[in-house]
């Protein structure tokens, strides 16, 4: 989980922080409230997560509860990966 959190944080720093010294945001800071990530940014973040972790993301999952901070994104990815792993090892799952 820590590795995922670092990777997500790195993506946010590289793509949304354009001013040196602006990396002073915590992993729980709200993207919406801080204005750190706008709607175009969320689109890029979703695409990053989808591509990097090879997880499907439903429209219903595009809500702030999953995407509004580094921590929330990492937890979401962790849950999805855990769910996918469970499906892969269960021979009864179609």
């Amino acid at each position: 989980m820590q590795a995922i959190e670092q990777e997500v944080r790195q993506f946010v720093v590289e793509n949304f922080l354009f001013t040196a010294g602006d990396s002073q945001f915590s992993d729980t800071d709200s993207f919406l409230e801080t204005g750190l990530v706008d709607s175009m940014g969320i689109l890029n973040l979703v695409e990053f997560v989808r591509g990097k972790y090879a997880i499907p993301i439903d429209d219903e999952e595009l809500v702030p509860e999953h995407w509004d901070s580094v921590r929330q994104v990492a937890e979401f990815v962790q849950r999805k990966l855990g769910g996918l792993s469970h499906q892969r090892v269960d021979p009864g799952t179609s």
């Binding site: 919406l32 709607s39 969320i42 429209d59 809500v63």
Partner: protein, 334 residues
């Protein structure tokens, strides 16, 4: 600042005669005295905003000093052209038609847009139609992320969430339409020594529902301070034809019919008007919700969307940024 005691569904009612006079005075001041131009060019879309803009210009400057330019393309609705002609005849201003389809084709507007769509719907091609849509803002807390809705020649409908590349590609290609129209407006303005009127209402102007250097560009914007419901009130007063008054606002930008609500505002425009007005005047979400029929949480979601659009609009509204000011260009008397 307005107080919650006077906030109601009637808060946007106007005295159309007084308002029209005030705007007409402003048009004369800007066009004739400030810019020293002889008249105004107005792009007529067949919708309420351009109709009201042209009607105000005609009253202010005289009918013979307003040119209506109708600019259909291969995907615009025939109804738009018909309504625009209807309006020009009703008001009595000179008008002409410039079909921008060939220009758009030449610059690759349609081809580039289709290529972008194929990034998410690979089979999209000749004979297909499309539009991009947002999720409903009040039915859930979903991010406002666009999807493309496409219809095959046989009527099958496909929907796909847009990737960043696909979304930006579609928007960039489609923006050719607004920018090509603006190019022609300025051609006519230059040859006639007229000024170009922009036609956005307050929702559009404030929340960035325009294309930078496309329909966002103009010499003056006489109704940019008016809420949509106020534009309708003025339209009725100024004698805009009933068919135009009744027509639902459309973008008329995509080959599938697309409302402004599903493309940008995610809420019926009359409710969006009241939410924006309430927010601008410090009215609580609870109070606004009780008037427009939404919960306080839903209104707060609307507020968040408004704030997000206001931030995005900074780029759209900004003139060219200079590294250092150039005092000579600030005009006489500086």
């Amino acid at each position: 600042m307005n107080t919650s005691a006077v906030f109601s569904s009637r808060v946007l009612e106007i005295d159309p005669s007084n308002l029209a006079n005030e705007i007409e005075r402003g048009i004369r001041e800007i066009v004739l005295r400030r810019f020293r131009r002889k008249g105004a060019v107005v792009a007529l879309s067949g919708g309420i905003d351009s109709s009201v803009t042209a009607a105000l210009c005609a009253q202010a400057l005289g009918k013979d000093h307003v040119l209506g330019v109708l600019m259909p393309e291969y995907e615009s609705s025939e109804e738009s052209l018909r309504f625009a002609n209807l309006f020009a005849e009703a008001i009595g201003i000179p008008s002409l038609v410039e079909n921008i389809g060939p220009a758009l084709e030449a610059v690759g507007c349609y081809h580039r847009r289709d290529e972008a769509i194929r990034k998410v719907i690979p089979e999209y091609g000749a004979g297909w139609k499309s539009k991009i849509v947002l999720p409903n803002l009040v039915e859930g807390s979903h991010y406002q992320i666009f999807s493309v809705v496409a219809q095959s020649p046989t009527g099958e409908v496909r929907r796909a969430r847009l990737t960043p590349d696909a979304y930006l590609g579609i928007v960039a290609a489609t923006n050719f339409k607004q920018r090509t129209r603006k190019m022609l407006e300025y051609y006519h303005a230059d040859r006639l020594w007229y000024a170009v009127a922009g036609t956005p209402n307050r929702l559009e102007h404030a929340l960035g529902f325009f294309v930078k250097n496309g329909d966002g560009s103009a010499d003056f914007k006489p109704i940019a301070h008016l809420y949509k419901t106020q534009v309708y009130q003025l339209g009725k007063f100024l004698g805009v034809p009933e068919e135009i008054l009744r027509r639902p606002p459309t973008t008329d930008t995509y080959s599938l019919e697309q409302s402004q609500e599903e493309f940008y505002f995610s809420l019926p425009l009359d409710k969006m008007d009241l939410c924006l007005y309430g927010k601008n005047n410090g009215v609580s979400a609870e109070e606004i919700g009780s008037v427009v029929g939404l919960t306080a949480d839903q209104v707060k979601r609307v507020f968040t969307t408004i704030d997000s659009k206001l931030r995005a609009t900074v780029y759209l509204q900004s003139p060219p940024q200079l590294i250092q000011p150039v005092d000579e260009t600030r005009g006489p008397g500086h």
